[in-house]
């Protein structure tokens, strides 16, 4: 038979082909220079892709189906490759007709991890083999139909480990359509997998299956190619599952900075904007760390850190397509390089090793230039940078004595005409002292030892665990589902679970709002984080605790007792709100730092909320509760009749400043006093003092009128012009800009929920059944000119039994960053809004609440949603709720007191039904 020699484009290896099959290259078959011949003789471009898992058939692809043992190929080459792949982080699954035990005995594989070997005979459970004696049995889900279903089971296991179907390479020996064992492999769930047949194809090839032929040698070559890709630093692939990805095709240069914000990746309190790797006009690359500030006073801002993603690409490449994969936490880019090839990059901030970041890039060698140092200092930033022992250290210094440093390694390689660049860096952030190189060395050494591929595999696995614990699934509303997942992703990426956590108003995704911490963090972010990452919520409480001294000093300076927290907080806990600004050609005073005092109660509320939702008896925020209660006790004014008033404050509605008896401030102060009195037995507080707190709380006026069921927002509010938004403009709208300050102040138009925040935060402190009267009154008067407004309003509308209106408001909230509704997403994410949308899902639509250590559920589903599935953390448990119009089902990983609203909570273990939802769902 005539032979031809061809070059395998995957391996660049010269092979011999005869009759369409690859045969051993021998001395009799001279190697020649060659060209690509035909797709079934050499590997097509579809295989030019890194797989994170390989599934192959034992008897077919691996050629173990021969009846006589002597006719079977030797096992060691296969075993070695499987073990090498596992060491590189690749999971390898074997589907066989033979018993799993027989396969294991024959293969005798000893994977050292992190990749696992999965064995399935389609009849019993899947057996997972790992390092040492690791052996795990994955039983088939009970919901699966009887009969062999190995591929679905394996795909589910792989996905749970972070390898979605799009990252799976399936190798079988049969590809003919219409029947046979292969049908078990070509399942709809695996549509995005790359499927290859190494067998003969006498009956043709099923759609979507690449016919390679070549038998077991071809399987081995495929494995070799995967190992080679890793060795040569090739860019990994992304599973382009539309339920999990945000895509930017680069068509709108005006959105460049918005997309940089949206594509931020972060971990451990350090985040990197999703800027292009090469310098582009208008780009704003940035690395920021929580709590590391520069500057003084109101000019304090987050310190930009060394940049680690810069590359030199010449000639410049188009923006191309970028994909943020929320499920695995990676940002990938592909663009035609213009040099006949593609520029591809992929980066991530390790969820397994917080502070460690990594990227790979590949492009034609003529375009991806040899990179300079792996780290660059931001323009104009003081610090240091140097090579030392093959590692590059860079640090930016803040004027506050702190800094943000990074230690990095870089490697370049070549593969098939491409240059590849691989970079790994470890960041260290110190708010109050200069970080040193040695502080990052350990983390970098660990990362280097693991290598990029293992780091990525572990990172993906860590994200898989996150999504297994926290998620929203809305089958009837994929757009909302994806947007909620985006919110969760960025809440994780912009926060940290250790130390103290300062959550600035725009997260770590941009310089907007200078990283200053507002009530946004305590009221909007913490309640979300406590159900997502409780340790991060606790870190937020620690941030406030460590600034209690500054708050007490502020109160003292004001002639008050206890602690008064600043409206805007940064490094030290002192007030950093500006006192004025230029607008409209004149100097306008900014009074929020003077009068918006409700933040003091908000801080206390957040500490209590954190404790309630985590379920511990301890209340780490006790000192906060005591000192804030003392503040309110000293802040109240008693009138001649003994009623208590709080004068001259600004509530959440900032259109009306310096008002008296703002309902929100007063009721929150009342709550604060009562909560402190309730916890007094655990604090060094005298009975006299705690008794006075209760007494005073009962005297605070709240503006409630039982005849109407409404709370007057502040004293004199009803006397203002009864202007409704219908007469102004369709909300959301910045009504203060439209109407001007004078008109707004004189009208009843408000910026955002003020009274209604009480119904959201402290429903026990407001009159029963007062939600609807206040919603009906203040709703038409609300401009929603604050980005904090729509999400909370959505939650309130759901609670009020108006889930369809709530859904409309939720969509607005979800679009704030994704559609850049504010025109300022370029400067960072509206992190409080992201927390608010998760609260809307959990507390609004699902009606989840915690009281006295028990979980209650009171769902309100919009007409468009047939079901809602939520996963969250609560009371130390991992909870899943599946809500339909017919029933509410709960699953918990440990015993939990739970029940539907209005019912006595009962002890729930594992999975059970709580019953049919109440009216209105």
């Amino acid at each position: 038979m005539a032979h031809r020699t061809v070059k395998d484009v995957m391996t660049a290896e010269v092979i011999a082909v005869a009759g369409g099959a690859v045969v051993p290259l021998t001395a009799e078959i001279p190697a020649t220079d060659l060209v690509m011949v035909s797709s079934h003789e050499v590997s097509p471009q579809a295989l030019d892709r890194t797989a994170e898992a390989i599934v192959f058939t034992w008897e077919g692809a691996a050629g173990e189906g021969a009846d006589s043992p002597g006719r079977r190929p030797p096992v060691p080459p296969l075993r070695r490759r499987v073990e090498s792949l596992c060491s590189a982080g690749v999971d390898v699954a074997v589907i066989s007709r033979a018993d799993v035990a027989d396969v294991a005995a024959r293969l005798r594989v000893r994977p050292r991890g992190p990749g696992r070997v999965l064995l399935s005979d389609g009849r019993g459970p899947v057996v997972e083999l790992g390092p040492g004696d690791h052996r795990r049995v994955h039983r088939r889900p009970a919901a699966r139909a009887a009969g062999p279903d190995p591929m679905r089971h394996i795909l589910a296991i792989l996905a749970a480990r972070g390898a979605g179907p799009g990252l799976v390479l399936v190798v079988t020996d049969q590809s003919a359509p219409g029947g046979g064992y292969h049908r078990l492999l070509l399942v709809p769930e695996g549509a995005r997998a790359t499927s290859v047949s190494v067998g003969a194809a006498p009956a043709g090839t099923a759609p979507g299956v690449i016919h390679l032929g070549g038998g077991r040698p071809a399987l081995l070559r495929l494995m070799d190619a995967q190992l080679r890709r890793r060795d040569r630093g090739r860019v990994p692939a992304v599973d382009e599952d539309p339920a999990w990805i945000l895509t930017d095709a680069g068509h709108d240069p005006g959105r460049r900075r918005v997309d940089e914000t949206l594509f931020t990746v972060g971990s451990g309190g350090v985040a990197t904007r999703g800027s292009a790797e090469e310098a582009v006009r208008g780009g704003t690359p940035m690395v920021l760390a929580a709590g590391v500030y520069d500057g003084t006073g109101s000019a304090q801002h987050l310190l930009p850190g060394p940049l680690w993603t810069g590359l030199t690409v010449a000639p410049p490449a188009p923006a191309g397509t970028r994909i943020l994969d929320l499920r695995t936490g990676v940002l990938a880019r592909t663009t035609e390089s213009g040099a006949g090839g593609r520029l591809r990059t992929l980066r991530f901030a390790s969820a397994m090793a917080p502070g460690v970041v990594a990227m790979r890039a590949e492009a034609p060698a003529g375009q991806l230039r040899s990179p300079g140092p792996p780290l660059q200092a931001p323009d104009g930033q003081a610090g240091e940078a140097r090579w030392e022992n093959g590692r590059f250290w860079a640090r930016t210094d803040s004027g506050c004595g702190g800094g943000l440093g990074a230690l990095a390694v870089q490697r370049t390689s070549r593969d098939a005409g491409l240059r590849t660049v691989q970079r790994i860096a470890a960041y260290v952030a110190c708010p109050s002292r200069r970080p040193e190189r040695g502080m990052a060395a350990g983390a970098l050494s660990m990362a280097e030892e693991r290598g990029f591929d293992r780091l990525l595999a572990e990172h993906r696995a860590a994200w898989a665990v996150r999504w297994d614990e926290v998620d929203a699934q809305i089958p009837d509303d994929p757009d909302v589902q994806l947007a909620i997942r985006f919110a969760l992703f960025q809440l994780w990426s912009n926060t940290a679970a250790t130390g103290e956590l300062a959550v600035g108003a725009r997260g770590l995704a941009g310089s907007g709002y200078a990283g200053h911490v507002f009530w946004d963090a305590d009221v909007f972010v913490l309640p979300a984080l406590v159900s997502i990452e409780p340790a991060a919520a606790a870190a937020m409480v620690r941030y406030r605790l460590r600034r209690l001294a500054a708050a007490r000093a502020r109160a003292c300076a004001d002639g008050r007792r206890g602690a008064r927290f600043p409206w805007e907080s940064a490094a030290s806990g002192e007030e950093v709100a500006p006192s004025s600004m230029m607008f409209g050609g004149r100097l306008v005073p900014v009074t929020t730092g003077l009068y918006e005092e409700h933040v003091t109660a908000d801080v206390a509320w957040a500490a209590v909320r954190c404790a309630e939702w985590t379920g511990g008896r301890a209340l780490p925020g006790l000192p906060l509760l005591v000192q804030t209660a003392r503040y309110w006790a000293s802040r109240c004014r008693l009138d001649g009749a003994g009623a208590a008033h709080i004068d001259g404050v600004t509530g959440p509605d900032e259109y009306h400043e310096r008002v008296d008896d703002n309902a929100y401030t007063n009721v929150m102060a009342r709550w604060n006093l009562r909560a402190a009195a309730d916890a007094a037995d655990r604090m060094p507080v005298t009975a006299q003092e705690s008794g006075w707190w209760r007494e005073l709380a009962g005297r605070i006026v709240d503006g409630y009128d039982s005849a109407t069921g409404r709370y007057e927002q502040f004293a004199g509010y009803y006397c203002l012009e009864p202007l409704l938004m219908a007469g102004v403009a369709a909300p959301p709208v910045a009504a203060d800009l439209l109407l001007g300050r004078e008109r707004i102040v004189a009208s009843q138009v408000i910026k955002q929920p003020d009274v209604l925040m009480l119904h959201h935060m402290v429903p026990g402190e407001v009159a029963p059944r007062s939600l609807i009267p206040n919603l009906d009154f203040y709703g038409p008067r609300t401009s929603h000119g604050s980005s904090l407004s729509p999400a909370i309003t959505a939650s309130l509308l759901a609670r009020a039994g108006r889930p369809d209106e709530a859904l409309a408001m939720l969509r607005t909230a979800l679009a704030i960053d994704l559609s850049d509704l504010t025109g300022t997403t370029a400067a960072g994410l509206h992190i409080a809004n992201l927390g608010g949308v998760w609260q809307a899902m959990l507390s609004g639509f699902a009606g989840v609440g915690v009281q006295a250590g028990a979980l209650s559920v009171d769902p309100r589903l919009p007409a468009a949603w047939g079901s809602l599935h939520l996963r969250f953390r609560c009371l130390g448990r991992r909870v899943r709720l599946h809500i339909t119009r017919e029933r509410v089902e709960i699953t918990t990983d440990a015993p939990l007191l739970a029940g539907l609203a209005g019912q006595e909570p009962r002890r729930v273990t594992g999975h059970c039904s709580l019953g049919p939802p109440g009216k209105g769902s």
């Binding site: 005006g254 900075r257 006009r281 208008g282 108003a505 907007g512 709002y513 200078a514 200053h516 507002f518 709100a577 500006p578 600004m581 607008f583 409209g584 050609g585 306008v588 900014v590 929020t592 403009a729 959301p732 709208v733 910045a734 203060d736 800009l737 439209l738 001007g740 929603h784 000119g785 604050s786 980005s787 904090l788 704030i816 509704l821 504010t822 025109g823 300022t824 370029a826 400067a827 960072g828």
Partner: protein
Amino acid sequence: MMEVVALTTGADADGQVMQTAAMAGEIIRADVRRVSLAQGTPAGPAAARLLRALREPGAVLGVLASEQPSRSFWQRIVSSCAKPVIVVPPAARGQRPGIRRVLLPLDGTPESARAVAEAVGQFATAGVDLVALHVFNEATVPMFWDQPAHAHRAWAEEFLARNCVRSGARLELRTGVTGEHIVDVAARERADMIVLGWSRQLDPGRARTVRHTVLSAAVPILLVPLVVPQKDIGPFDAGDTGDAVST
């Protein structure tokens, strides 16, 4: 060689027109070419002559007085000319020489930003201080405005990044009627020139901002067309009767 074409009519405004043309020529490094009209030249032929001069390849910019040879003459020219034209109002007489600061009203649309981009670039290169102006109205007011000091800064930075990519440019924000604020801010900022992108359509009800600005401003206004015109000559070819040139 590039030329700035300046129209003189023998009126008192000629001096300011020539001064403005010289200032503009210095910015864009162009010579000034004077087109003189005799008194009494009918408007049609006068317009045709000026437009012919502006159509020449070397002509990059026109300059004329807003009220010479008649109050409506400038409208004929700017609506028929595809090139930028500076209109010099009467109140600009006695303006100090030199262009140190330019006011740049922007409506936030990509079209207007593109239209004035070249002019902005030339001013920036020449070291002229750029002040952008955006006026909020019911159509353009933001949906959200959180903490004013921070929101203003973030909004302004992004607006400038998208519409006026020049370091050092700053943004003034106002609410209300655009034309009124343009004149007011130009005076307050002591701008030496106003740069306006516009649609070249002067139908009744359109170009209110342009009309008001030309009528009320105390500094020259550079009108930059937003779109490429279908023709260079409008309905004022030689032979039309129309308004006669007058002193």
